[in-house]
Structures are given as structure tokens and as C-alpha cells.
């Protein structure tokens, strides 16, 4: 882009016989602008994702450690996985985990963000440490929580007086206990996104609403919620997608057990790929997981789009 002065601007403007046409940008270049801005981002990631397609390709082979010369087997792996009740068990566990964890994190995250947004002294102190749980890598958080959950010497049973027979990671409780850890780690993520969102809202409508004497709940439902909805949905998208491919702390805490109580899809994929060295089967698992994530994300993104348009209307 040129930075020179275009010539005719000093006052009084000289009368020009033959007006000089200022530089113009052809239409295609103007249209290309957003693409030019976006393409580097796409490329840098597509480059790293090239292996993804290779991984997907494994899904139609029978490639494993004991079968190092893979041949094309079509959809055989898919048929095998889709008729496997373990797979569907994992789908169920994964969905329950994702829905409950994401839902709880949203409710708590928005709640914490709203509470912190009041000008309370308690809130100001806590806001500084809000993000702390995120500072502990999930794989380490799994270790710490594992120690806390231990029935024999864990601090939770000690503090709550549950004795040594209360088992946080029993068949019935394990899924809820790993969800609790997920909530602990990631609620601050939601709270921060939403808090930043709240703080970028225009003030006028709230002042107006205050003047009108609207109740807190009414203001929240009619004003705050619609306006922060896009931020909440971004949080939902990221949390839900990450929950669907949850691995780190579940693996540390239960490795998918007891039985298949916490065997999420990515843990199933881990078993096939890494433990059993059956890459094709593992890839099939992950490809199906990817499809599940893809579809839900697509849906969530379209909801987000609508919400953003609505929010734009509410603000505007």
C-alpha cells in the first residue's frame, strides 16, 4: 500500500483541468482480502494436519505390528468397530462425560464470572487466583486428584470423614469423579472467557435497566445472557470438543476402568493403537470419534452463528 500523499489536497485545492484518477484496487483484489488474511492460518495448520489424512487412511487398511505389510480392506475395520458393543459403550461414556462436564462447567463458569463481576472485595481477591487450576497440566491434575481420592490415605475421605471404604473410583462413581476433576480444571477456562465477554459489553443497557428497577434475574435473562451468549457458545464448542476426545486425566485416574466405566473413545483408541499395536483399528476408532466431534461441532457452530446474529440484534 502506498503511503505517499495523493497530491491534491492543500487548501485551497488547485483546480485541475484533467483530474488525475487516484490509485484503484481491482475488484478481485478487494474480494481476495479476507482470504489472503485467512489462508496463512489455514496453511500452517493444514501442514501439520497432513498426517491426519494419513491416519485416516490407516482406517481402510489392516495395518498392525504383526501385519506390517498392510493391504486395503475397505470398510472392514469400520464394520468391526461399529458392531462392537465395547465401542458403543465408549460412545455412551464419552457422551455422558462430555454433556455433563460441559454443562456443569458452563453453569459454574458463568456463575463464577457473574459473581466475580460484582464489585465485591472478596471477588477482587479471588479473581487473581481464578485461573490457578488451569495452571496444573491435566496429566498432573490427574495424579494429584488420584492421591486425594485414595480411600486409604486420601485427604478427601479424611476431611469428609468418609472412612476408608468410600471409593470415589468405583464402578458407579468413577465417571462422576473424573467429571469432577474435569470441572475443577476447566471451569476457570469458561469463567475467564465469559468474564472477559461480560466486561466488553456496553454499559448503557444495564444502566437503563437499573434505572428501570428491573430485577436482577430479569436483567440477567433478558440482557446479560443474550449478550454473552456468543462467548458462552465459544466456550461450549471448545469444552465439548475437548471433552469428546478426553484422555489425559482419565487415563491417569482410571485408565478407563473399572471395567469399561470410564472407557472413553480416545482411551479405546489408545488401547488399539498403542497397547495392541493395531494402528488400523485404532485409526478407525479415532476416525469415528473425529466424525462424532465434527458433527457436533458443526451443529454447535451453526447455533453459535445464530446466537451471534441475535446478540448483534440485542446490542443494536
Amino acid at each position: 500500500m502506498s503511503t505517499t500523499v495523493t497530491g491534491r489536497t492543500h487548501e485551497p485545492a488547485p483546480v485541475q483541468e484533467e483530474p488525475e484518477r487516484p490509485p484503484s484496487v481491482p475488484a478481485w483484489r478487494r474480494k481476495a482480502r479476507p482470504y489472503v488474511l485467512s489462508i496463512p492460518a489455514v496453511l500452517i495448520i493444514a501442514g501439520i494436519l497432513y498426517p491426519f489424512f494419513l491416519g485416516a487412511y490407516y482406517g481402510v487398511l489392516n495395518y498392525s505390528a504383526i501385519n506390517p505389510e498392510p493391504i486395503f480392506v475397505g470398510l472392514e475395520n469400520f464394520a468391526r468397530v461399529l458392531t462392537d458393543s465395547q465401542f458403543w459403550g465408549s460412545v455412551r461414556v464419552t457422551l455422558v462425560f462430555a454433556v455433563v462436564a460441559t454443562g456443569a462447567e458452563m453453569v459454574l463458569g458463568v456463575g463464577v464470572a457473574l459473581l466475580l463481576n460484582r464489585a465485591s472485595r472478596v471477588g477482587r481477591i479471588f479473581e487473581r487466583v481464578l485461573i490457578l487450576p488451569l495452571m496444573v497440566a491435566p496429566v498432573i491434575a490427574g495424579v494429584i486428584w488420584g492421591l486425594m481420592y485414595n480411600p486409604q490415605f486420601g485427604v478427601l475421605n479424611y476431611v469428609f470423614g468418609l472412612g476408608s471404604t468410600f471409593n470415589w473410583l468405583s464402578t458407579d462413581l468413577a465417571l462422576w469423579s473424573v467429571i469432577l476433576v474435569d470441572i475443577w480444571i476447566f471451569t476457570p477456562f469458561v469463567a475467564i472467557l465469559v468474564l472477559a465477554g461480560i466486561r466488553s459489553l456496553p454499559r448503557d443497557p444495564f444502566e437503563a435497566s437499573e434505572v428501570d428497577g428491573a430485577s436482577w434475574f430479569y436483567t440477567f435473562r433478558r440482557l446479560t445472557l443474550p449478550m454473552i451468549w456468543p462467548y458462552i457458545l465459544v466456550a461450549v464448542i471448545f469444552r465439548f470438543m475437548d471433552c469428546l476426545k478426553i484422555f489425559d486425566h482419565i487415563y491417569v485416574l482410571t485408565a478407563g476402568g473399572p471395567g469399561a466405566a470410564t472407557r472413553t473413545l480416545q482411551i479405546g483408541a489408545y488401547e488399539d493403537s498403542i497397547i495392541n499395536l493395531n494402528y488400523s483399528l485404532g485409526s478407525t476408532y479415532m476416525f469415528l470419534l473425529w466424525i462424532l466431534v465434527f458433527i457436533t461441532a458443526r451443529y454447535l457452530v451453526s447455533v453459535l452463528g445464530k446466537a451471534q446474529r441475535r446478540a448483534a440484534g440485542a446490542e443494536g
Binding site: S38, L54, V122, L147, D248, W290
Partner: protein
């Protein structure tokens, strides 16, 4: 103008006390495991699982962790993994910002054909289960010499940081009134200058939030760093788990001490950045 946006002024009503209590409850839950980790970091090996709150605290574990230099426990200098993590995470976030912010701007500002598809593509990179890509990625990294390098880490961390940066910032750009940039264009500034001097400063809270979260997520990433690096470019998260030991002795106390140390850089970053998050730069007034 009111200093607070949402319900109530500063007064000691029942609601505000209840709200403070709710906050207190949340933060008890949120901070207890952190406290527990810190206590663990102060315990000796003999006391690590046989004591609760009464023990003889020692700072020895921190010394052991920081002086771990390719010795029996970790095979890497803990401090050098800290540096690797700082360099690669800062690098990854910077790359994501430099490349991702324009993309977020394009998506937030213009409705161009395929804009949603581009955004969705960027997002979909996050879908790929790590384990699915990591084996082929390992081979390719070997072939092109990125294995066990910080550059390689920075690249692969784009999978973590880029979608976060782009998607968070898009919302902010969408919310930014177009008129401001248009005014600047008519003031005679090029689009680039307009973007840099008008749009960018106004989404600073968004950039702060996105950069911080992206940094933390990159910092905490485990699988990529585990598989794609060795002694040269191990990250601190990988190094922490090495203190878990093996062969019958797990050093939870050392692990906790390492985790406490490893949490400091993101914590410092968070406290530095939080100013922008907290104040939100009177951003509300931007919108008419």
C-alpha cells in the same frame, strides 16, 4: 458512570453476602487441590502419603527438582525444560497471534464467501485426536528434522493455540463497531494502519484472554511434547511426570514440587495480563 456493570451497587445486602459466600464455596473447591499440591511439595518422601496436615515441612524437594540435571530421575535439566517450554509456548502463541489475528479479523469483519468454512476448518484441526496424528507426525518430523526441536514444538502447538486464538478473537472483532475503522480509513489511514492502530488496541482484552489461554493450553500439552521431543526439547510438563519415578518408588512430593515450579511462568503471565482482563479498557463505552 457506575463502576460496575451488573446487579447492585456496593452495599451489604443479603444478596451480596450470599454471593460472596457462593464465591467462597467455589474457591474453596478450586483452591484446595492447589493447596494440597503445595503441601505435598513440602513433604519428605517418607511423609508424602502418611500425613495430612501435620508434618515437618521442607523445601528440599524444590532444590532436588531444580538441580535435577540429567541425573537419575529425569535425564533432562529441569530448568532447561522450563526454558524450552517458555520459548516454545511463547513462540507458539506469537505465531498464532501474528497469523491468527488477521484471520480472526477477516472472519469477524467481513462476510465473505466461505468464511464459515474457513473458520470451521481452523476449528476442525482441534478435533483430530492427538493419538491419531502423532504416529505419522513422529515419522515426518524425523524426516524433515523437526523432531526434538523447539521449532517443531512451536509448529505442532499451533494445533492447540491457533483455533483458540482465532475463535476467541473473532467474537471480539465481531463485536467491535465497524464505524471506528471506517472513520480511520476516511481519516486517510490504510487498511493495515487502521487495523493496527484502531481495531487491534480495542480488542486488547480479547487478545490478552486468548493469548493467556492459548499459552496455558500449550504449556499443559502432554502427548505432542511426549512423542515429538526427546532430551533436547522436552517440555516442562513432560519433565514433571518423570518425577513420578518407577520401580516401586513414586516421588509424589517431587512431582508436586515440579508442578508448583512449572505453574509459576503461566501464573506470572496471568497476573501480568490480568490487568487487561480486569479493566476491559472501558470497552463498553465504545459501543453506542
Amino acid at each position: 458512570m457506575s463502576t460496575e456493570l451488573l446487579p447492585g451497587r456496593r452495599r451489604f445486602t443479603l444478596t451480596s453476602v450470599l454471593a460472596d459466600l457462593a464465591l467462597l464455596a467455589w474457591f474453596t473447591f478450586a483452591l484446595f487441590p492447589i493447596l494440597w499440591m503445595v503441601l505435598l511439595a513440602l513433604k519428605t518422601s517418607a511423609e508424602q502419603t502418611s500425613t495430612y496436615f501435620a508434618f515437618s515441612p521442607t523445601l528440599e524437594n524444590f532444590g532436588t527438582v531444580l538441580s535435577a540435571r540429567g541425573t537419575e530421575l529425569t535425564s533432562v535439566d529441569f530448568t532447561s525444560t522450563l526454558i524450552t517450554s517458555v520459548v516454545s509456548c511463547v513462540g507458539a502463541v506469537l505465531v498464532s497471534l501474528i497469523i491468527g489475528v488477521p484471520a480472526a479479523y477477516a472472519a469477524g469483519r467481513w462476510k465473505y464467501r466461505g468464511s464459515n468454512d474457513v473458520m470451521f476448518t481452523i476449528l476442525s484441526f482441534r478435533f483430530a485426536p492427538e493419538l491419531m496424528v502423532v504416529v505419522p507426525l513422529f515419522v515426518i518430523y524425523h524426516q524433515i528434522g523437526l523432531f526434538d526441536t523447539r521449532v517443531g514444538l512451536i509448529w505442532v502447538l499451533q494445533l492447540v493455540t491457533m483455533p483458540l486464538v482465532v475463535w476467541i478473537l473473532r467474537s471480539y472483532f465481531q463485536d467491535l463497531p465497524e464505524d471506528l475503522e471506517q472513520a480511520a480509513l476516511l481519516d486517510g489511514y490504510t487498511r493495515r494502519r487502521t487495523f493496527l492502530t484502531v481495531a487491534l488496541p480495542l480488542v486488547r482484552p480479547g487478545i490478552a484472554a486468548a493469548a493467556l489461554l492459548a499459552f496455558i493450553f500449550a504449556w499443559n500439552n502432554y502427548v505432542f511434547a511426549l512423542i515429538l521431543t526427546g532430551n533436547e526439547a522436552n517440555t516442562v510438563t513432560v519433565a514433571i511426570t518423570k518425577f513420578l519415578g518407577g520401580g516401586g518408588q513414586a516421588y509424589y512430593n517431587l512431582t508436586a514440587a515440579a508442578a508448583v515450579i512449572a505453574a509459576l511462568p503461566p501464573l506470572i503471565l496471568a497476573l501480568t495480563i490480568q490487568r487487561y482482563l480486569v479493566r476491559g479498557l472501558s470497552f463498553g463505552a465504545v459501543k453506542a
